[in-house]
Every structure is written in C-alpha cells, then in structure tokens.
Symmetry: C2
Subunit: 232 residues, 2 copies
C-alpha cells in the first residue's frame, strides 16, 4: 500500500495570503514611521534570523514583527501600537480555514485507496489547530508535524512507518520543502504551485536541473494522475 503525504499550508488550505494580509496591515500601521520597502526587507531579515531560534509559524512571525517595529522606530513605537500589531496578527492563529478547491473530493477518493498522511512543518499547536478547523482530519491516518522538511526528516518519517521511498508520494506547493528533498531520497513528488509562496521557500532554477517530479495545475488533477478517477 502506498503512503501519500500532503503538505498542509497552501496545499490543503489557503495560508500564505493570510500572512501577506497581516504584513500589509503591519506596513500601514507603521507608515508614519518608515517606508514600506524598508519595513518589508527588514521584516524578512528578522524572520529568517529568528527561524533558527523560534522556528516556523505564526508566533515566530508575531515576535519578528514586534522586533522589527521596535528596531526600525528606534524604540519610539508605543505599547499601544505594538498591541495593534499583536491584535492584527493574532488572527493568524484562529482564522477560518479556507480549504483549497478540489481537496475534499480528492481526499474522499484517495482515503479509500491509500494511506494518507498530513506531513507539514511549523508550529505543532498551530498546525494541529488548523487541521482541526479544516474539518479534513478524518481523511488522514497519520499526522506528522516536523520542525524542518529536509531529506533527514523525510527519511525519519519513512523509517518510522516502515515505508520504502518508492512507495511514498509527497504532494505539496513548496519545491524546497515538499519536492526536492523527496526526489533526493527516491520518493515521488507532485508539485501543485500556489499563487503566493513565501520567498524563503523559493529555489533557484539550477537546483531543479535533472530532477523528476510532476507539476499539476490543481489538486483535482491528482485523481487523473494517480488513476483512481474511474473507481471513484
């Protein structure tokens, strides 16, 4: 039996656009202190720097925004304004989940033929909460939330479930986290790009040279690709 793993954010449901929305509000809020360009680039620097201490997720992002705001205003930002940043970004932790088009249909069919897993990186609490809010939880036999998605972490998951790479399919929207490491360990990867991808997840074209994976325009095409459409 094949194990099919789905990435969560922007593969099962809309995520990055929520972060983009919060970033826009953040820029508006600080517009009288600093221009948007400087703010964006400084925030990105803080996010990447803090990844090593905070990890991924909404709480890290909130702390990075607060730090950036203090830094760029040279401490002049008020407590009240920081509270506004917290209030604006807090909704990243409990926004209603917008499941992507075709996903329920695909999961409904796939769950009858394959073992399904959610395999996502990020904040444990946050990701579990999103899965619960999505109403998709019952389709998945396994949930794996890891702190980083790289060859080692995929290998660890496959070892834990005693699955050979050849029997493993990973579906996701990030070339860096969902596709390349899986291809490198001999698994099959299916790439479904999302409209908005965090720049940290981008990979250079040359990293893709010689790599085999399938790109689909939408989740719905998975039914045809994996040959279970007729059965459905």
């Amino acid at each position: 039996m094949k194990l099919i793993a789905f990435d969560a954010d922007d593969t099962l449901w809309v995520n990055e656009p929520n972060f983009v929305g919060v970033k826009e509000k953040f820029c508006e809020l600080l517009a009288h202190y600093v221009d948007q360009q400087t703010l964006s680039s400084q925030l990105y620097d803080a996010e990447v720097r803090n990844l090593q201490v905070f990890g991924y997720g909404a709480k890290s992002f909130m702390l990075s925004m607060i730090e950036t705001a203090i830094e760029l205003t040279d401490g002049a930002i008020t407590g009240r304004e920081i509270q506004q940043i917290i209030d604006t970004s807090r909704r990243l932790l409990d926004y209603p989940i917008d499941v992507l088009d075709g996903i329920p249909e695909v999961l409904d069919v796939f769950s009858k033929h394959f073992e399904l897993m959610v395999l996502t990186k990020g904040d444990l609490f946050d990701q579990e909460s999103k899965l619960a809010r999505s109403g998709l939880g019952h389709y998945f036999k396994h949930i794996e939330i890891v702190s980083e998605k790289n060859e080692q972490s995929y290998q660890r998951v496959l070892t834990r479930y005693n699955v050979a790479p050849a029997d493993f399919i990973m579906i996701g929207n990030s070339l860096k986290s969902d596709i390349l490491p899986v291809v490198h360990i001999g698994g099959r990867a299916i790439y479904i790009p999302s409209d908005t991808t965090w720049v940290h997840e981008h990979v250079a074209d040359e990293q893709l040279v010689g790599k085999s994976f399938t790109t689909l325009a939408s989740a719905r095409e998975l039914l045809t690709l994996l040959g279970v459409k007729e059965i459905a």
Copy 2:
C-alpha cells in the same frame, strides 16, 4: 519489551527555574509601573488564556509577557522596554541545558534494557532544540512531542507504537500531565517531583485518591526501582 517514556522539562533537565528567573526580571523591569503581585497574577491569567491560541512554550510566554506589560501600563510601556522583555526572555530559547542529577547514568543503563522515548508537550521547535542541546538524544529511540498530554494523546502514542498500557512506563514531574492520565489508561507512572512546578500543572489532592503510582526522590532511584542496578 517495555517502553519507558521520560517527560523532558524538569524531568531530564532544569526548565521551570529559567521561566521563574525571567518572570523576576520582567517584574523588575516593570516595577516603576506596577506592583509585583498584580503583575504576576495578570501574567498568569494571560498565559492560561493564551494557551488555547498559542499553546505551551517559550514563544507563547514571551507574547503573554508583552501583552500583560501593555495591558497593565495601559499602553504607556515604550518600545524600548518591550525590547528588553524580548531580550530577557529570548534566552529561554537557547539557554545551556542543565541535565538533572543521575539522568545520564539512568539513561545509560536503561537504554541497554528498554526502548526509551522522550514524551513531552510544548513547542516542537523549542523541545527539539533543548533535546539536541542536552546531548541526551542518542539514548532515545523515539521522540514524541505533543501539544497536550492527556489520556487521548497517551492512547494515540501507544497505538502508534503498538504497545499495551501494561508495557508502558511514564516518568515525569507533573502529576497532571505525566502521572494521572497514564494511570487512567492503565499504564505505570513514576513521579519524580521537581522543586519548582508551574502552578498550571498543580492538581488537587482529591484527584489523587485511589490512584496508584510510585514517587521517587530522584532519578537515580529508578535504577533500584526497575531492578536493573545489579546488571549495570
């Protein structure tokens, strides 16, 4: 083969005293705004309220401190002071790990006779980082980081590893998270109290009535209790 799981914070290494230290610094920092008593009780309220949105861990705690500071100063706290709160609490994420007395000896013996697991709740990234910094990682065959330790989550772990409750031993310092739920599902629980326990982990005496578990004064006593001292 028995599966023995260890809680991490204040079971394998010192943790809560670091939080207490940061809370003290936080009170000092805000001493000119508000008295310590009010601050402590308000911070605790914020922590518990935020548990449901943020989960456990250092990042949640940082955000709760920032919120409390803004709330209690009615927004008058400056960006510079908030940065000081962040700087003070940041060390919760990278402090050097102080492994508790007897733990390496116990793990060294146990790892030869049992399957060992770290089973902890909290922030995924933070807990993995502490385990790595502790240098104890190689003793453990399994690492499970869950968002909450209750009967359901213990049951899930045992099902995943195909272990009967009767073959499961949990060792920890929290009656609420490590002992009672394990006793309730029919596992064996060994309680090693720590000097400092977060008030949220306290349980009322009446909850302990009729519950069987072993209390030890220190990790070292595990060797005698589980009868492998002579073999060592």
